[in-house]
Symmetry: C2
Subunit: 341 residues, 2 copies
């Protein structure tokens, strides 16, 4: 029953505004590689950890209702891909590959409340932090279930090269929509147009008048805006929605610095345009996961849907990887590689 070293990424103290690297510590803990007698927990070796924008909300003193915020001195929690080392739960056995909720450390003892077994390993395992995991389900649920897209409709996606956005754009193309994405660098814009199949893309940092920009790309208006950023972008979008338009609100990453959120002034436009705005989180849609896999796996295998990852190696680079999400450093889905098997 060896105690082994267990490197962790630990929250130093509650965060206000965007997180900094110094809000987290790298700690050398230890862990006994055994599920305690009588517990139905699962002992995981973490392989890939997912860096996701929502995580900052859990770094605050008061987290969102119904969610467990992080505890100073304890490791962050989040999505990951892991291998089962030992299991006290009948649904999992040693050697299983799983994805779901784990902790930012080398080994984790978790209660398997949100842990999916990985059945398909002919695709990269890291995909289960992204296209085949939480961000993939988020794009699927938000676009298809809440966006109710129809062939020929006009779709706008912000943070379009991110973990979720790049899939929304590809789902829109599969549905026969016209899709435009915004992102924050030339490299990302090129990616959207040349690799991810967006009809058009622009660098929002180079546009001085977002309303005019949107009118240029959407002379007839926007049917679906997949909202990832909030603030000024949303305000310009509200001026350009079509009648009966839909806005699935997935995230507002520009606004997560809640000490100084940008203001939105054009909300009254949702009345005459009869616009639906629907905030959502993926947890309400996991019952669709089997249907989602059935839809998406063939497209991945045939190369009809692709996925761009941005990888950092090693838990010690976790804080920088996470912080980078809020400055747009990552190009594609940000993954932290902890171990390869």
């Amino acid at each position: 029953m060896a105690q082994v070293r267990n490197k962790q990424v630990v929250l130093r103290d509650y965060v206000s505004g965007f997180p900094k690297e110094s809000d987290m510590d790298i700690v050398e803990g230890t862990i006994e590689l055994k599920v305690p007698e009588g517990y139905n927990d699962v002992l995981l070796k973490n392989l890939y950890l997912s860096c996701d924008p929502y995580m900052v909300a859990l770094m605050r003193d008061i987290g969102p209702e119904g969610f467990q915020n992080y505890t100073p001195g304890s490791p962050l929690t989040g999505y990951g891909v892991s291998k089962v080392i030992e299991s006290g739960h009948p649904n999992y056995k040693k050697g299983d590959l799983v994805w779901g909720f784990t902790k930012w450390e080398e080994f984790s003892l978790v209660s398997p409340t949100l842990l999916f077994k990985i059945e398909h390993t002919d695709v990269p395992l890291s995909y289960y932090t992204g296209i085949l995991g939480m961000p993939g389900m988020t794009a699927y649920a938000g676009f298809f279930e809440l966006g109710s897209p129809k062939n020929g409709e006009n779709v706008f996606v912000s943070a379009a090269s991110g973990a979720v956005g790049q899939l929304v754009g590809q789902f829109a193309k599969l549905t026969g929509c016209y899709v435009v994405g915004s992102a924050g660098s030339k490299e990302k814009v090129d990616l959207l147009k040349n690799k991810l199949g967006f009809d058009e893309a622009f660098n929002y940092k180079e546009e001085s008048d977002l309303d005019a920009t949107l009118k240029r790309y959407f002379p007839e208006g926007i049917d679906i805006y997949f909202e990832n950023v909030g603030g000024k972008t949303l305000d310009a979008v509200l001026l350009n929605m079509r009648v009966h338009g839909r806005i699935p609100v997935c995230g507002m990453v520009s606004q997560y610095n809640l000490t100084q959120p940008e203001s939105v002034t054009n909300l009254a436009h949702i009345i005459f345009k009869r616009v639906l705005m629907q905030g959502f989180i993926v947890n309400d849609f996991y019952h669709l996961y089997p249907k989602f896999l059935e839809f998406l796996l063939p497209h991945i295998r045939e190369g009809k849907v692709v996925y761009v990852e941005d990888r950092d190696e090693g838990l010690e680079n976790g804080p920088a990887a996470l912080v980078g999400l809020y400055s747009g450093r990552n190009v594609g889905k940000q993954v932290l590689v902890v171990a390869r098997d």
Copy 2:
């Protein structure tokens, strides 16, 4: 075929911001009391005209997409109760009482695109500008169709003593909800609590911290916010919505001065709370009108639903009545009495 005098309320010029009385002129026109040969128009004698907050949107240079804005030099259009003087349309005959789209003048020749025959005259005729007309249908569609209320839920209504709000509150009570209304004077607050059956009501002008006010009235949060005002009230509500809450967005009367709309900064709260915001206009719901009458008429006859009107007499007082909507002068539904029969 006598030409008769036809007093009109005419738009002087396009309006920016809220309208002033001087934006309208009282004009003495004439009209021939005859439907021109070959037309299927209907000639109406207008009895009651409805003053509605949306009207300012049609006074601007560019009206909302899909709606006909007013023309300088021509009378305003709007909802009213009228008597048919002559009809070129087979569905209407001389002597019929109707409600629907007419013009701000004594007699109007209209194409009957939105004109309902009044079948039930045991209730006040003016009710067809309010509880049994467009505002009634608005309250019904917004609350029941979009709000999806359940017994025991917590409902907040702004502009709660207005044409729509007073009904939303009563519909909420009929559904077994707890309902709180906000309004802009002591008189209105008293009306909400003592006559309209709201559980609680407050004067928003006397509250310095609306977030704290809402937390006091809704310690467990708000399930349905029926949105009539926008701005600061919405911003405070967003901090107090419950998970899976709904916000039917009927109007944002505080924001119709579009030159200086207030900002909303708390929209990101709709994500974790999975809040639905749905802008709507009543035109999409008129197919429910027979069902609505069947529901509401018995309640009115039994005195279980009441309705408060604020009446002004004479077309020459129309501009003041309309302008008063935007300063909250009216107590209850604002009606303009043009003629009594």
